[in-house]
């Protein structure tokens, strides 16, 4: 019988066009194809290709995964305010909220890491569309669920021709930004139980 709950759940959410699904697919590929773990990546979306609410989920486990969607995320990456508000209550008590500080100004829990992914992508990388990869770098830095080498491999396998350097740069910019956070200094729970 499979082990109980070594599943690690990551939820990416934001607006259509922000690369939410691409980031999740790269993470899933790194964990599944290169780190040899079991992964399940799913998404929910509306009729819009651009602008609608978009959510993508990744479950990573050492054993076979039954339920393909997340039950309660260990990490929630919110790339806009409305998604942050909508999904943060779902987080595991000891989960972690990661937000794009460029887009999310009202942060609903102190157990959060707020990095201006879009601003970094725009100013440091010169391509705002790379915000998803900056965010992916930060998320992986914070959760350490896949090796950096394999993440790079997966990223390069998916990157369009001629964009390898920009993508790697974005990934590492995100990782660097996240390194400045010491998770031990954050509150240990997303929300305190009532006294």
């Amino acid at each position: 019988m499979e082990k109980k709950d070594d599943r690690y759940e990551i939820c990416f959410c934001g607006s259509g066009g922000q690369g939410i699904i691409t980031a999740a697919v790269i993470l899933a590929e790194a964990a599944g194809v290169y780190d040899m773990k079991f992964v399940c990546q799913t998404q929910s979306y509306g009729p819009e290709s651009r602008g609608g609410a978009c959510k993508s989920e990744v479950v990573i486990s050492a054993g076979e995964i039954d339920y393909p969607k997340i039950l309660q995320p260990d990490i929630l990456l919110a790339m806009n305010q409305s998604c942050c508000d909508l999904y943060f209550l779902n987080l595991k008590p000891k989960g972690l909220l990661v937000v794009d500080a460029t887009m999310v100004t009202q942060i609903p829990t102190p157990r959060a890491v707020a990095v201006p992914f879009t601003k970094i992508a725009r100013n440091e990388i010169g391509k705002e569309v790379a915000a998803n990869i900056v965010a992916l770098g930060a998320v992986v830095q914070l959760c350490q669920i896949v090796s950096v080498g394999n993440l790079e491999k997966a990223l390069l396998a998916r990157a369009p021709k001629g964009t390898a350097d920009v993508n790697l740069q974005a990934l590492h910019a995100g990782m660097e930004a996240a390194k400045q956070y010491d998770l031990n200094t954050l509150p240990h729970v997303v929300m305190e139980e009532e006294e």
Partner: protein
């Protein structure tokens, strides 16, 4: 050029993409379809993959034409398939019936979305189970298989082609939006690892060929157009030579054989998986993406001391009655969770004959039934 190159490859694929790779592994070289959410990725990958293998992809003017072209290609000797979702599946029904009647092997994938009508294009459902079985008019045999994982999408598609070729019957694969868009890692097989079954061709000279003659399996050899047999294929009731008939004895023999070939192959066609059923007192009977939630719910229930088990149906039709009967005899209660108002639960009740209690749990709001919901139902029992 081989289908996959020489080495086994671990790849991250969507369910829809895995169906394409399964089809190719089974020898499919023709696809005709029409774009529809959430099945479009099948068309997209086919349009890229098939020409690499000297196959053919064509996007037709509608699903009716897609189904027609698929049957035409199969009659010309090429394994063929199409893929669609609810509304398109409805449009295919008439020609699907032609494939049943004229015994043309082909595979139809229906990635189920919420219905009726345009319904919920981007959300899952299991509402087309009975349409898959009885969608076309008239009494007809058909095989319906359900997939629940990306690996299933690959393997069951191979199975679907094999069954279709072996029994000369259209095979419907029921997927759903969740399975279709879930990405998981699968290892693509090297060439020849999967056994691909090919239809039996006639060996006799053309003047001895009787296209619809009965034999021990009930499946006559099938000539392709252009092989010198110049036979007639029709959607009308036909005699053993394939020509229209209104003679009751010939009609009865034909319809009888169409059903008999499936009943004779029943044990080979019937595919189920069991999980913790050996000592189970409560059975969950599920299929498609819901069976994944059910598996987790069973584990959760076991942890609470409830002896639950899962019977996952892969073959939905012909209904795997023996496996279901066995589960019903063993367990005092069977729970059938479905993303419809209760389609397979009716079938379970039909074979139950009051041995056990059959409960259903239904969700039709476009959301996958969660493990918690099934668990809650289980502990209530």
């Amino acid at each position: 050029m081989s289908a996959f190159g020489s080495d086994k490859k671990r790849v991250l694929l969507q369910g829809n993409e895995a169906i394409v790779e399964g089809a190719i592994a089974a020898g499919c070289r023709f696809f005709a379809g029409y774009p529809i959410t959430p099945a479009s990725e099948i068309s997209e990958r086919m349009s890229r993959r098939l020409p690499q293998l000297d196959g053919t992809f064509i996007q037709m003017e509608d699903e009716i034409a897609g189904m027609g072209a698929v049957i035409g290609a199969s009659l010309a000797g090429v394994k063929s398939m199409t893929a669609t979702s609810g509304p398109g599946f409805s449009l295919m029904q008439e020609n699907l019936g032609f494939a049943c009647m004229a015994e043309v092997p082909c595979v139809v994938v229906n990635v189920m979305r919420g219905g009726p009508s345009t319904g919920l294009p981007t959300n899952p459902s299991q509402g087309d189970v009975m349409q898959a079985r009885w969608g076309t008019h008239g009494d007809h045999p058909v095989i319906v298989l359900a997939v629940s994982t990306v690996l299933d999408c690959f393997q069951i598609t191979v199975e679907a082609f094999n069954m279709s070729e072996k029994y000369r019957v259209p095979v419907v694969i029921l997927s759903d939006e969740i399975v279709a868009h879930t990405r998981e890692v699968v290892t693509l097989p090297s060439v020849g690892e999967f056994e691909a079954y090919n239809r039996v061709s006639p060996k006799m000279p053309p003047e001895w060929y009787i296209p619809y003659a009965d034999n021990s399996m009930g499946v006559p050899p099938m000539a392709a157009f252009g092989e010198g047999y110049h036979h007639h294929v029709t959607g009308l009731m036909h005699d053993v030579r394939g020509f229209p008939t209104q003679r009751p004895d010939e009609i009865e023999a034909l319809v009888g054989r169409l059903f008999r070939k499936i009943t004779q192959g029943f044990h080979e066609i019937q595919k189920v998986e069991t999980f913790m059923m050996d000592d189970a007192e409560v059975a969950v009977i599920a299929y498609g993406s819901v069976s994944r939630s059910a598996r987790r719910a069973v584990l959760d229930a076991r942890r609470q001391g409830l002896k639950a088990g899962l019977l996952k149906l892969i073959t939905l039709f012909p209904f795997p009655r023996h496996s279901v009967e066995e589960a019903l005899q063993k367990c005092r209660v069977a729970l059938v969770p479905e993303m419809n108002m209760g389609q397979i639960s009716r079938e379970v009740k039909r074979v139950n004959q009051t041995v056990s209690i059959v409960k259903k749990y239904n969700r039709v709001d476009g959301q996958l039934i969660t493990p918690q919901e099934i668990y809650q139902q289980l502990i209530k029992i």
